[in-house]
């Protein structure tokens, strides 16, 4: 049975054409073909995303800067200061210091709360293990990716910074994009 290439198989000439005249002719034709290809690129228009003005949309599961969460009804923090995230962290960038909740100072829903919760983002590798380890979904990976700063100490995010909503929201990719 003879081999029949499908419609998407392009025939490629593997050897130079015979003689200088024929090869010159072929080079000329191929040049024109190449010029057609590049001109088609002009017609398609640029694909650049003008970064500081436009931002690349991220996927819903994109792992950006962390967020800490509160209960929406009571306003209490979800984090109970169990330090499981710090234990799971492979780059050892989370520091949690727990304290007891008292009746007149109630911060979280559990017995204890995180008095100090710091993530050193200059060490973080954005693996998302903290999110997986957390039993109360108190910490999740957000969508922010603009995390540059002038000093290293500015990249140590405190609990207040992680609880606050990001100032500029990162665009999210819509379904099917």
């Amino acid at each position: 049975m003879p081999y029949e290439p499908g419609p998407d198989v392009i025939e490629v000439m593997r050897h130079p054409a015979k003689g200088p005249a024929m090869s010159t002719l072929r080079v000329f034709g191929e040049t024109l073909r190449g010029m057609k290809t590049t001109l088609a690129r002009v017609a398609e228009g640029p694909l650049t995303i003008q970064y500081p003005e436009e931002k690349t949309p991220v996927y819903p599961r994109f792992r950006g800067r962390h967020k800490l969460h509160k209960f929406e009804d009571t306003g209490l923090e979800k984090c109970v200061g169990c330090s499981l995230c710090a234990a799971a962290c492979p780059s050892d960038c989370i520091r949690v210091v727990a304290a007891e909740n008292t009746p007149d100072n109630r911060v979280s829903a559990g017995e204890r709360y995180a008095a100090v919760y710091e993530i050193n983002l200059s060490r973080c590798i954005f693996c998302g293990y903290c999110e997986v380890a957390c039993p109360f979904d108190a910490i999740t990976m957000g969508h922010d990716y603009e995390l540059s700063d002038y000093t290293r100490s500015d990249l140590i995010f405190t609990k207040e910074m992680l609880l606050a909503e990001p100032l500029e929201r990162t665009p999210l990719r819509t379904e099917g994009e």
Partner: protein, 340 residues
Amino acid sequence: MSFPIAAVTYFEPWWIQIIKALIIFLIIFGVLPMLTVYERKLLGRFQHRYGPNRVGPFGLLQPMAEIVKFALKEPFRPTTSMGFLFRAAPALSILTAVGGLALIPWGPVTNIFGTNVGLYGIDVSVGPLYVFALGGISFYGILLGGWASGSKYSFLGGMRAAAQLISYEVSQGLALVGVLITAQTLSLVGIVNAQRGMWYFIPQVVGFLIFMVASFAETNRAPFDLVEADAELVGGYFTEYGGTGFVAYLFAEYVNMIVVSGIATTIFLGGWLLPFGIHPPTWVDPFVVLAKMMIFMTLFIWIRATLPRLRYDQLMSFGWKILLPLATLNLLVTAIIVVH
């Protein structure tokens, strides 16, 4: 058939010649930075990009920013370089490039305020020879720059330039001779006037193609830019140049592009003439020439965006084994047709 041959012996008073020189110089210097932006923006479009669009409106002030940047750079040179030649070589490149500008005819002899002024720098009776003479000197600029740098990359670039420019200048010249024996004049204004019936682009299409291919090699543009081959030779002959010396070479390359486009326009595309019997007033003529030159500029950029760089032995064998015989054949056929 007799064509009105330009008055080669006519020369304007000296002050008009100085004014003309200044005007051509200033206009080209105005066009040149725009050309660099045009190239980069168009090259961007060919690659799904925008190109420079940050400095000024639409990125049009990009060359200004770059000139300032280059001018403020520290001028230094390798300890192995030869001081005087290292500085003189870019100047030589610019000098020969700018010299070619004088020859591009922008229009016929016109009466401006009662004085007959030719809309060209100078109409010498040996037009193309003048261009090739300058082209022959211009490669000294590159060769000396490469050699005087005292660096191996520069030296290799300079050597390549010497071999490439010499081998392609032969084909370029032979491609023009076909036109010259048809027009029976060497004056560029005369050649334009001889194209009133039909642009030489049509009867001399083979010569035109040879000339264009050789021009790409002459101006060291892609796909014949092995002289500067950034991937293998860093920058070729200008590897050791920075700041103003680098700008000088870049500048010379663009002026060379303008000159080659101008010569191709004059010789093959009928200069300031328009097809279908359209006769615009004389002040339009320079713009017609400029528009035709822009076609060639766009072609230069388009080819640069399309073709990869040739291998050096391919370049040489193409020049000597294909282009030169083809140019000779074209000349022979033309000569036989003209004589009969």
